[in-house]
Symmetry: C2
Subunit: 358 residues, 2 copies
């Protein structure tokens, strides 16, 4: 059993940088290990992996680094979905699938291998386990803490921060509206809160004393410094790591991040049935309005279609998850990026204090 008191893994990091877990093949053992080796906290994304693949990835990270790293798990939500809305959406996507010579997948609910993956992270005594899409029960968290050092829960509102604190989380990952990929909102049906990261941090700080990881639209060292000053213990960045050579992202996806043909990002349920921020491509424009609140049903429905679009070299029907800092993504090795972010953050703090000596 791991020995841990009130000190979290965050305090053992030499740089306050967390690499966001990015499911769907973007997070890799090489990416996580590079960030952890640089003194930050690398993350594997358990979401959509098989239990076996997760076990393999954890072993692979450990072959590459002895430093702490994390694994992110999706918390299963309400499997109910509006079947009529799903059927309408399937009808709508048939032409889209035909265009890429793909078949739409079965729109089904699953729990993403919840029990099996929890067992894997326990057995492997993964240093940090984080959760997205909900908060595990106090019993689940208490049990997990017998095996792992730090439990992180992703929150998007002060109310969720209070719930996660009461459930026994060690650290909260505070996800602002600017963040790329899926919103971590506990329920899929909740109104999508549009709080920017700074106002959200302020509200979360008012309801919890837990250490916070700040996420959402951060791209440069100055952004990292800004959230540290705003009260976070570390900054989490995802989109800028998508472009790293260690990331598993499709080259089309990497290139799209800085391609000016994509006018910006939007939050959409079009690809997965759950709100997520990505680059605005044709698929987002055409299907966001009709997309039902049905996760992971729609994810399964569109998976083969998205893969076919990627094979066809067409980014217009791929899910190009991206936060609002996407224009700053560059192909830099992840360790180098981590060190540069930390050094620039430090410089920004020193410089601000010099300009505002009080």
């Amino acid at each position: 059993v791991a020995d841990h008191g009130t000190v979290t893994v965050l305090e053992s990091l030499t740089v306050p940088i967390v690499q966001a877990p990015m499911a769907g093949g973007v997070s890799t053992p090489a990416l996580a290990a590079a960030v952890s080796e640089a003194g930050g906290l690398g993350f594997l994304a358990a979401g959509y992996l098989t239990v076996e693949a997760l076990r393999d990835q954890i072993r692979a990270v450990r072959r590459l680094t002895g430093r702490p790293f994390g694994v992110n798990l999706f918390v299963p939500g309400d499997p109910a979905a509006d079947q009529e809305a799903l059927a309408r959406y399937r009808d709508r996507l048939e032409a889209e699938a035909a265009l890429y010579g793909a078949e739409l997948g079965k729109a089904m609910a699953d729990d993403d291998g919840w029990a099996g993956k929890l067992a894997v992270v326990r057995e492997a005594r993964v240093p940090v386990v984080s959760f997205t899409f909900g908060c595990p029960s106090p019993a689940t968290i208490a049990n997990l803490k017998r095996f792992v050092s730090t439990v992180v829960v992703t929150v998007t509102s002060a109310a969720e921060a209070r719930l996660a604190t009461e459930a026994g989380a060690d650290v909260l990952c505070v996800q602002g509206f600017e963040a790329g990929g899926h919103r971590g909102t506990f329920t899929n049906t909740a109104r999508i809160d549009d709080l920017g990261l700074l106002p959200l941090l302020r509200r979360v700080c008012a309801v919890t004393g837990l250490p916070l990881i700040a996420a959402g639209g951060l791209a440069r060292g100055r952004d990292v410094a800004a959230v540290l000053v705003a009260g976070a213990a570390a900054a989490q960045l995802g989109t800028v790591f998508v472009a790293c050579p260690e990331s598993g992202a499709n080259p089309l996806y990497k290139a799209a991040l800085t391609n000016p043909v994509f006018p910006g990002t939007a939050v959409t349920r079009a690809f997965s049935g759950r709100a997520a921020r990505g680059l605005v491509n044709r698929f987002v424009l055409d299907h966001s309005e009709g997309a039902p609140v049905a996760y992971p049903h729609v994810h399964h429905m569109t998976k083969a279609l998205r893969a076919a679009a990627a094979r066809a070299g067409d980014a217009e029907a791929m899910s190009l998850w991206a936060g609002q800092g996407h224009v700053f993504a560059r192909e830099i090795p992840a360790g180098e990026l981590t060190r540069a972010l930390a050094a620039d953050a430090r410089s920004a703090l020193v410089e601000a204090l010099r300009r505002h000596p009080g």
Copy 2:
């Protein structure tokens, strides 16, 4: 003629705090003077005032302080409006007006006394003149700079920042999506960009070297410190100043800012025909969808209705402009608030550097 080189008024401030200009009676000479006396930059809002009232307010500020202050002007936009959509909106609001015993006003365009107000700020040699809703021509800015020390243009995107820099602005006010009140977007028809303040600052820093004032959802000293670290020369706060005793805000409006019956804020054209962020009340819920893109037509149409709602003591049909930090507004004298924000910002910088010594 004022003597000014590349040094802006921002550099003469002893605290990096700007009080946002808030039109409609919230900004007062007493509020602006209190902030300026505390070492920050107070602002009068020329919008909706008569030329004479603006002249009087400038004199009143000068009786109260010898420190620099600013005046904000609305830049006139395209006066065209969809008359059919306006007529439909008027029909829709008739019942609402009857409810409060008010008459809907004439939906007309005007230029808010543009030439007269420009003449007033020139004659009075107001230290800082800022603009919202557009960028004046290079000739207008060049002429103005013969009389005033610093010209500020409000921007909501990198493209607008580039235009304002090329037009000769001395300083940009960078307004994030979190900000309360009207979005400063140059044209009313533009897609409303949802960039949070930190990603927006990062993009603006990439296209201009001008000093920046950062605005949007800032409420506490830590937020001020965050934007200073992120690259701003000063932080602008509006909503927290609404609650000050020196503000001219209706007491119902002040109380609403922290009233939990209002679930949050939203961007709406319902009150004025131009996008603005305010507390979500009944009027916002009922009329945001039908509201036409027609400014200042809708402002004039709803003015008496909003005033009648205020007289009736009903905040549900008042325009309760608020940024995402509204829950932190407290009734504190403006000078005290300004000093506390600056002291807390400084502490946050020192504390962050202590926690992250590099």
